[in-house]
């Protein structure tokens, strides 16, 4: 008795190795300079799917978009006629606005698919939503969801490209890319730089994406937080683990603070805000005592006075607002690379 079964429509194409994607293309010109590597991505689901060359190529593209954003008219027609949908199951004005702005700077339309609590209450499943979006024929979907794997789920069921804007505690790849971009602009390179992530590693998708992204770019990554907020085997992702901030803060180049949710107190993950701030907070005293020029990142929004003091954010080495600005350029690069071309063999190198 055969029954219909939904099968994945397509698997995300694997990123080609540098130069791998270009082999079939007829050489239109004899060039002595090497061609830049074009990452061939069908979706952006996580940093785990990206090769170091992909990350570098995305960051390089973001550089050109920084220039676009500085123009008198900071809009280019690259994605004219394209439509992307912001599908946010969790409210996040910052991230959805950043994506919407990135889309509009590329002349793409960005539509919010509002997930009213009503549709969920009416029993609408993610499968229903995916099928609805598929029927609307959009070019791409940016999804934020409280459950890990939601972006993977969507990507297997729709033809449009999918950007993971955060899936539960799993990944938040554009945050990692914009953080890497911000650090690269500040430090020149991440190679051999020591980056410390501080806070609730266990429940942080930013932590997972950033650990992967920074280490793929050659940084030495460490995490620090109360042991209750450090997930098991995290060191196997390629990072060192510290439980006491003061024992490691003085020797790092970058400290990437994470938001800590005070709700965690009720599940006995740490005893009090006071103790958390004393042990893991980036306080003004702690920083002045160390007298260091450590670069400071925070994905925002900050719980002022808990994981970080407001004075610290005012320091010149705190790049929190640069992260926001760079976020638009990085998301432009991501949208451009995902929506810009299509697979085919039309060679238009000679259409001058």
């Amino acid at each position: 008795m055969p029954r219909a079964r939904t099968k994945p429509k397509r698997k995300p194409r694997k990123a080609a190795k540098p130069g791998g994607g270009r082999a079939k293309r007829a050489p239109a010109r004899r060039r002595s300079k090497p061609e830049p590597y074009v990452p061939r991505l069908a979706n952006l689901l996580g940093i785990s799917q990206l090769a170091p060359a992909d990350i570098t190529a995305i960051l390089d593209q973001a550089e050109t978009f920084i220039e676009v954003l500085k123009r008198p008219i900071p809009v280019v027609p690259a994605l004219r006629g394209k439509t992307v949908v912001n599908l946010f199951f969790e409210a996040s004005t910052r991230t959805s606005t950043s994506f919407a702005l990135a889309a509009s700077r590329l002349s793409a339309q960005c539509v919010n698919f509002s997930i009213g609590s009503s549709s969920v209450k009416k029993g609408e499943t993610l499968l229903d939503t995916a099928r609805t979006i598929e029927a609307m024929r959009v070019d791409g979907v940016i999804i934020r969801h409280s459950m890990p794997g939601a972006a993977h789920f969507l990507s297997r069921r729709i033809k449009s490209f999918v950007v993971n804007a955060g899936d539960g505690c799993h990944e938040h790849p554009t945050q990692a890319l914009l953080d890497a971009f911000t650090l690269r602009r500040r430090l020149g390179t991440l190679k051999d730089k020591r980056v410390l992530l501080v806070g609730d590693i266990a429940h942080s998708r930013v932590a997972r994406s950033n650990i992967l992204c920074f280490s793929k770019l050659g940084a030495r990554v460490a995490v620090c937080g109360p042991p209750t907020l450090i997930p098991p085997h995290i060191e196997e992702l390629g990072c060192e683990v510290f439980y006491r901030l003061d024992r490691v803060l003085y020797e790092v180049d970058v400290v990437n603070m994470l938001r800590v949710q005070t709700e965690r107190i009720s599940s006995s993950l740490f005893p009090s805000v006071r103790e958390y701030r004393a042990l893991y907070g980036l306080t003004a005293e702690r920083l002045s005592e160390l007298n260091t020029s450590v670069v400071i990142l925070h994905p925002g929004p900050v719980n002022w006075g808990v994981e970080m003091d407001f004075e610290v954010a005012e320091l010149p080495q705190a790049l929190i607002l640069n992260q926001v600005t760079n976020g638009v350029a990085v998301r432009m690069a991501v949208l451009y690379l995902l929506a810009g071309g299509q697979v085919g063999d039309t060679d238009t190198a000679e259409t001058k």
């Binding site: 079964r5 969801h145 459950m147 505690c169 098991p232």
Partner: protein, 429 residues
């Protein structure tokens, strides 16, 4: 195709009781094995050519879910017992977590009668341990036993109140029934996957192995203390295997089972968030998998049971967190175990088949599966050389939630004899 006399000719007969494999014919008369021997002549009997095949007693699955009543969109007793028979299981013990749950005499009778009407595998229900599976008061264990229940369990949930569990173990002694424990310690069990590197990498809420082992430890100690029988369902981790091994050394009346997915797969399969890998207890690590395999081989784990758990595609095609745990298991169990234990050289075919026949019969107090003269004919015909690929089209279960689609396996149930009837399976032709 009923017939008075059938001759199963030319097959190799595996007898798990003696551990022997013999090239003999079997003559079945009026649904009983009349003669076993070489070169039986029975001209008027219907001849069933078993050359190149093996014959074994029908398998018993002591842990499955048939979903009726209450969840007939996922499975019914009819489709479930058909699926079981295709997998070689002639007798199955469905767990009582239906809606309403099987916590009364009437419910037990209903399930047995439904299966008799269907006429495929027979059903020997497991009744609830507590009324309405609520974990508060004992269910009418004695009446359910009278009606045909073979064990009690609140499967799907652990009986978390230690006083209730103690009383259940004590009470069930009167009826010589095992209490089957679904081990999952409260407060450590809200995860959706094994807690470890994979859950960390994927950001999934983890269910740590102590959730299972701590619960099993309490129930084993209670069983020892009150002198009752406890059976640990679906063992998934190394520590529980060690615990049971230790308990057996102390001569506790403990038995245990493992499911094919736990000895075949690990949590590494979760990387793509495919909900067909979501089971409870969760798939664990490679060391855990190796430990349960070892447990089966050294006898710590007595039984291979499927935990056949059908779910509709609606229940599975959702976010990983929301997906119902469980996979269908009848139709792949024999082959997965054959591959894992026999082809690997860890066990003889007869010892492997013991885990599917004699061992569950012993625990559940069921009639002994046998190939001996005078016993009821309940046999399966196996092709141990057959390479086959599991495909969606051949699934007999009403649900298709399995991670083993498109997997090529060796060893296949090709037919069997149930009383006066024999059957060949189409996909084996």
């Amino acid at each position: 195709m009923a017939d008075d006399r059938m001759l199963l000719a030319g097959g190799r007969v595996i007898d798990p009781a003696s551990g022997k494999v013999r090239l003999v014919d079997i003559l079945v008369e009026d649904g009983r094995i009349a003669r076993v021997g070489k070169g039986i002549r029975a001209r008027d009997a219907q001849r069933i050519d078993c050359r190149g095949k093996h014959i074994a007693p029908g398998f018993i699955d002591m842990h499955c879910h048939l979903r009726e009543p209450g969840y007939e969109d996922a499975e019914t007793i009819l489709t479930g017992t058909q699926s079981a028979l295709v997998g070689g299981f002639t007798r199955v013990c469905p767990m009582p977590n239906t809606d309403p749950p099987v916590d009364s005499e009437a419910m037990v009778r209903f399930q047995i009668e439904r299966a008799e009407q269907a006429g495929y595998a027979s059903v020997h229900p497991v009744g609830c341990c507590t009324r309405n599976r609520a974990g508060k008061e004992l269910a009418e264990i004695g009446s359910m036993r009278e009606a045909g229940a073979v064990a009690v369990s609140d499967d799907g949930d652990w009986v978390s109140d230690p006083r209730v569990m103690r009383r259940a173990l004590e009470y069930a002694k009167a009826f010589d029934m095992p209490v089957i424990s679904h081990c999952e310690y409260d407060g450590l069990s809200d995860g959706v996957s094994n807690e470890g590197l994979v859950s960390t990498r994927l950001g999934l809420r983890g269910k740590p192995w102590p959730s299972e082992t701590a619960a099993a430890a309490r129930d084993i100690m209670l069983a020892e203390f009150v002198g009752a029988r406890v059976h640990i369902a679906h063992v998934s981790c190394a520590a529980t295997v060690d615990l049971i091994r230790w308990a057996k050394l102390r001569r506790v009346q403990v038995t245990a089972e493992v499911c094919p997915h736990h000895f075949t797969l690990t949590d590494a399969s979760l990387a793509g968030f495919d909900t067909n890998f979501k089971v409870n207890p969760p798939l664990r690590t490679e060391p855990d998998r190796l430990a349960v395999v070892e447990g089966v081989v050294d006898g710590t784990i007595d039984v291979i049971a499927t935990d056949h758990a059908p779910h509709t595609s609606i229940a599975k095609e959702v976010e990983f967190d929301k997906a119902r745990p469980g996979i269908i298991g009848f139709e792949t169990a024999f082959s997965l175990g054959y591959e894992q234990f026999v082809l690997s050289g860890l066990m003889s075919p007869a010892r492997y088949i013991e885990k599917l026949t004699l061992a569950p019969a012993r625990i559940m107090g069921l009639r002994t599966p046998s190939v001996a003269e005078g016993t009821e004919a309940e046999l399966v015909i196996l092709d141990l050389k057959a390479q086959w690929t599991f495909s969606s089209a051949q699934i007999m279960s009403k649900s298709h939630n399995t991670p083993f689609l498109e997997r090529t396996m060796q060893g296949l149930v090709v037919g069997g004899v149930l009383g006066e009837e024999h059957f060949w399976l189409l996909h084996a032709a």
